[in-house]
Symmetry: C2
Subunit: 271 residues, 2 copies
């Protein structure tokens, strides 16, 4: 039995160190419809890298490919330091269950980020304050309960399919329901916490699954500590839905207006 | 000696089949400053997958991590089908040279794309026609010579560093200098053919290198055949430059207004 840690999220993403093979287990608290919430799976793989004794620097990018459904229970993480340079590290992580085929596959880059010219070209999205926005009340899956979603724009209206597609754009505050300071792990998980863009565009739930997700981290541990926040303002949009796949791009901002992470994904849908 | 094929690009991305290990070699025609142009490296890895006897479906996504400089000469591609499902395949490809450490590392998803509801939410960028735009005359590296760049907006003005950052946005027609029909390989390569966003923002060349690049394909082979074009209208922008790394996101459009691919990357810079 694992001890309960302070926050469910840390519990859900807990890993046990091995040599190159680490262990973890899925969490009922972050369950989605047919498997664990992908964001927590990605955060678990990232946690194994962050806690790895050979790790140096902070997460710069992570790409996770969801290859097959993850079943409830334990899993193994096969970790490999593919290449280390003076200030960057390239990693890969494979998740398997019971010695079977690869269920998820991630590659990540870590970097020791040196001071440089700094310029934030993107504009902080205009938004009503977190406190003035209403919590999203429709809880569809256990993992959704773990977050406090407060839509500022583009709250999903799900029901009758729309005759003409609606905008896929959303602007939403995302916080852990039980407040937890934003770190790289929460950014990783929150990058997959947007609802499927196809739901927004069609106004209905359809079979949906993320295939590949990439997140770039624009703040290192020191920057995140300075922001000292437990929520992000998140925007997401889609450009295209075609032949059973659609894209998503998103931004995660600190309340103080710093761009913390950007994310893209391609997802399967049936409609 | 390899026979010369019809197009330099096909020559540059040629691979020789092995079992799990394929071979290729860098091309002087697509050389950048300190190594091969990353787009051609990515296209070469994609070509090995497309030509692989076990491949089914069309490229859906590819992420390539540039781990170390690639030297002039031959290289090996270690190819692995990580997981195959009914309609998708997950692949990984590792490039090494002379039995050394991994130089580049790619993961890719292929999919048999089934008909579905289709909706292109993004707007085709307004643009002057290819024929009315002027070819970019400043040729900095051999690979640039292989493309016909025609800037519509945001042509890089490189020289004295700017006092205040300029926009990092560009809109540019990209075609092979010797016309070649747009396929998944050219989309892969062209996704890395934007100049570094930091050059645009700062108005000067600085040390720069792509660390990780992800491209999503929104058109399959049949769609691309229907477009029947040898050029794309490409837009790119950046959101942030911070602590030695900056991002880029881009779109590649057919002249008829179809979104063919979207791409993101994170890159190192020194400034």
């Amino acid at each position: 039995m694992l001890d309960k840690t302070q926050h469910l999220f840390d519990d859900a993403t807990r890993v046990t160190a091995g040599d190159s093979c680490w262990q973890g287990q899925t969490s009922p608290d972050y369950w989605a419809f047919v498997g664990p919430f992908g964001g927590v799976t990605a955060a678990t793989m990232l946690r194994a890298l962050i806690e790895h004794p050979q790790r140096s620097g902070d997460p710069l990018s992570l790409t996770i490919n969801f290859c097959a459904p993850v079943a409830e229970g334990g899993f193994d993480l096969d970790i490999r330091l593919v290449k280390a340079n003076r200030s960057t590290q390239h990693w890969s992580v494979e998740m398997t269950q019971g010695g079977g085929e690869v269920a998820t596959f991630a590659t990540a880059v870590f970097a020791e980020r040196r001071p440089s010219w700094s310029h934030q070209a993107a504009q902080f999205p205009q938004s009503t304050a977190f406190e003035q926005a209403l919590p999203y009340a429709k809880i569809a899956a256990p993992w959704v309960k773990q977050y406090d979603f407060r839509f500022v724009e583009g709250e999903p209206k799900l029901g009758t399919p729309l005759a003409t597609p609606a905008s896929a754009f959303s602007k939403v505050w995302i916080a852990d329901r039980v407040p937890r300071k934003i770190d790289a792990l929460s950014l990783m998980s929150m990058s997959d916490a947007f609802f499927g863009r196809v739901f927004h565009a069609r106004g209905e739930l359809v079979p949906f699954g993320t295939v590949s997700l990439t997140t770039y981290f624009h703040a290192d541990a020191q920057d995140l500590a300075a922001e000292d926040t437990s929520r992000v303002l998140a925007v997401a949009d889609a450009k295209i839905f075609h032949k059973s796949y659609g894209d998503q791009s998103g931004e995660l901002w600190s309340p103080q207006g710093r761009l913390l992470a950007t994310t893209t994904q391609i997802a399967y849908f049936k409609a």
